[in-house]
């Protein structure tokens, strides 16, 4: 059996570099990215709401959609009108949201790209065996593509892409059409394979959790523009603006003003309360205070000093309870609405009900300030 292919570590410099990328489709500008670099060996996750241009960006980078203007460099080589696109595409692989298998056996599907490249039969067989095994579908190899479940088909699509040993792998929402348990399983397989191969990957998704699970860096694409591109903890912890904050799951966003600043701790006045937030912004600055519901904790009302390390403690009344899978989102009105998520278990234990008085706490480091 073949060892897994290693990442292409021959050359230095970025795998892909886009400058002044503009794509018009049907007379509309759907993509406008002044600059984007995909480093060799990294997993770049691009997130954004539906219709934000994520797929177009991926297809433009994968040389499947012509650029209206701009320049693209693949492994240092400039891609232009006269470029042999087929030859360049043969160094890449794309997995789409739908498995898009052809009307043939699973094995024939997995070997398709290799056969298109005219690789020798022995090599084709060897790679197919390896990747069928690696994605746990070797026993289904002779099955017809139509006889596969959604999860199996998507594994086949991934195996087909990895069998090509691409220099850059593009994943366009590959899990979006799968049910939750299948998706979780497949993400686990993919994380492991990406780590083993170290293949440069551009991964597009609307699911923040997938981006967190897979991305070395996360880009947020909205309205065809790249709004933020940074390490996941920065994008999710310190979104650049309100829209990005809302998309990455900052449910509580409050306007306020910095009153005082001391040792990277800002005292912020929000409507009816004062909160402390880790920030270097100077006094007088108008800001938005952002908080993720999972960083907010609920307590039974209690007087006296706080025992937890949380810096902020506010009292309010429960104004809304909405179930979210295994969790419950609780909106607490404390001069302003603040959203917290608790497990169903703790919601029961606390006997949460509308109008009930509760204390909410959050750490100064959990909140994030966006200057206005």
């Amino acid at each position: 059996m073949n060892p897994p292919p290693s990442a292409t570590a021959k050359r230095n410099g970025p795998a892909l570099q886009a400058t002044g990328l503009v794509v018009h489709l049907g007379g509309r500008t759907v993509l406008e990215v002044p600059s984007l670099t995909v480093e060799r060996g990294e997993v770049l996750a691009i997130i954004g709401p539906n219709g934000s241009g994520k797929s177009t960006l991926l297809q433009a980078l994968a040389l499947l959609v012509p650029l209206t203007s701009g320049e693209l460099r693949f492994e240092g080589e400039s891609v232009h009108r006269g470029s042999d696109l087929v030859a360049l595409r043969r160094r890449m692989a794309v997995v789409f949201q739908e498995p898009l298998l052809l009307n043939m056996s699973l094995r024939e599907n997995v070997t398709l790209g290799l056969r298109l490249r005219g690789l020798p039969q022995s090599q084709v067989a060897c790679r197919a065996d390896f990747w069928l095994q690696r994605f746990g579908i070797a026993s289904l190899a002779t099955h017809h593509a139509r006889a596969l479940s959604g999860g199996e088909a998507q594994r086949a699509s991934l195996a087909r892409a990895f069998a090509l040993e691409p220099e850059v792998l593009f994943l366009d929402e590959p899990f979006a059409a799968l049910d939750a348990p299948t998706r979780a399983e497949l993400i686990e397989s993919l994380v492991a394979v990406l780590r083993e191969t170290g293949v440069t990957t551009v991964f597009v998704t609307h699911d923040r959790n997938e981006a967190l699970a897979l991305g070395d860096r996360v880009g947020v694409l909205m309205g065809g523009r790249l709004r933020q591109l940074d390490r996941p903890e920065v994008v999710f912890g310190a979104p650049v603006d309100l829209e990005v904050a809302a998309f990455v799951g900052m449910e509580t966003v409050l306007p306020g003003r910095v009153l005082a600043q001391e040792e990277s701790l800002a005292l912020v006045q929000v409507s009816g309360a004062r909160v402390e937030v880790v920030s270097d912004l100077p006094p007088g600055r108008e800001v938005l205070v952002c908080l993720r519901p999972e960083d907010v904790t609920l307590h039974a009302p209690r007087n006296g000093g706080s025992s937890s390390s949380a810096r902020n403690r506010l009292r309010g009344r429960v104004s809304r309870l909405s179930p979210r899978g295994a969790l419950v989102a609780v909106t607490v009105e404390c001069g302003f609405p603040l959203v917290a998520t608790v497990t169903r278990r703790s919601a029961l234990d606390m006997a949460l009900s509308l109008g009930q008085q509760v204390d909410v706490t959050f750490k100064a480091s959990a909140a994030h300030l966006i200057p206005r």
């Binding site: 595409r89 794309v94 789409f96 006889a147």
Partner: protein, 232 residues
């Protein structure tokens, strides 16, 4: 009633006795309609595929013409092909009128729009993202086209069946451009018409049965291939 029973009895005798005239007419029918269908595939599949995959000004007009062509009356085709091949017509120099070649041309004109229209429909029924996936897999333009046609092979077989069924049972054009000449251009349909008009019902019935059996056998064969490709 006797007429029918008698006709069937004589027809059986002709068929079981492998009547020479019957065999010759049957063979020519298969040759002419088979060639015409084959040529119409060579014309119709590329055009249908092109129309399905490309957007250009006037595309809708072309498609509406193809759809109209699918219902082209054979006599109209016969008339125009006759005029084209007439002794002092544009192609008169070729001396093709009243030859099997003329019949192939006429039948091809009838079958080509049918094959084109059904190919267009077959290719359009494919997932449009499949093209993108094939290109992403590194397919060249020709490889992509080949695999798309291959993906549409089951509905394309329907196009073959419809094209062949249309021309082997067609009579107007074959009569006009072929002339129903004994031993040269007489096919199952034109012979049936002639024998019927002569009151020669036995032979007419025999010819009809052979025609029906042929159409049935060929469609059975193609259906078998088509259904084999379906998932269990």
């Amino acid at each position: 009633m006797d007429l029918i029973v008698d006709g069937f009895r004589q027809a059986m005798a002709l068929m079981l006795g492998l009547d020479r005239e019957l065999l010759r007419v049957t063979r020519l029918s298969l040759q002419v309609s088979g060639s015409a269908t084959f040529l119409s595939l060579l014309i119709g599949i590329p055009i249908g595929t092109f129309l399905a995959l490309n957007r250009f000004p006037g595309r809708r007009l072309v498609i509406s013409l193809v759809n109209t062509g699918m219902g082209l009356p054979p006599v109209v085709v016969g008339l125009f092909v006759t005029i084209m091949l007439w002794r002092n017509g544009p192609l008169g120099l070729l001396h093709l009128l009243y030859t099997p070649t003329a019949m192939v041309i006429a039948q091809c004109v009838i079958a080509a729009p049918i094959v084109t229209g059904l190919t267009l429909a077959a290719m359009q029924s494919l997932n449009p993202r499949l093209r993108l996936q094939l290109l992403a897999l590194g397919a060249s333009r020709w490889q992509m086209l080949w695999f798309l046609v291959r993906e549409a092979r089951l509905p394309l077989l329907a196009a073959v069946m419809a094209g062949f069924g249309g021309v082997i049972s067609e009579i107007g054009a074959s009569m006009m451009v072929g002339g129903n000449i004994l031993g040269q251009t007489r096919v199952l349909t034109t012979a049936t018409v002639m024998e019927t008009s002569k009151g020669n019902f036995a032979l007419a019935i025999a010819l009809s049965i052979v025609l029906l059996l042929l159409v049935y056998a060929i469609n059975l064969f193609l259906t078998h291939i088509q259904q084999q490709g379906r998932a269990p």
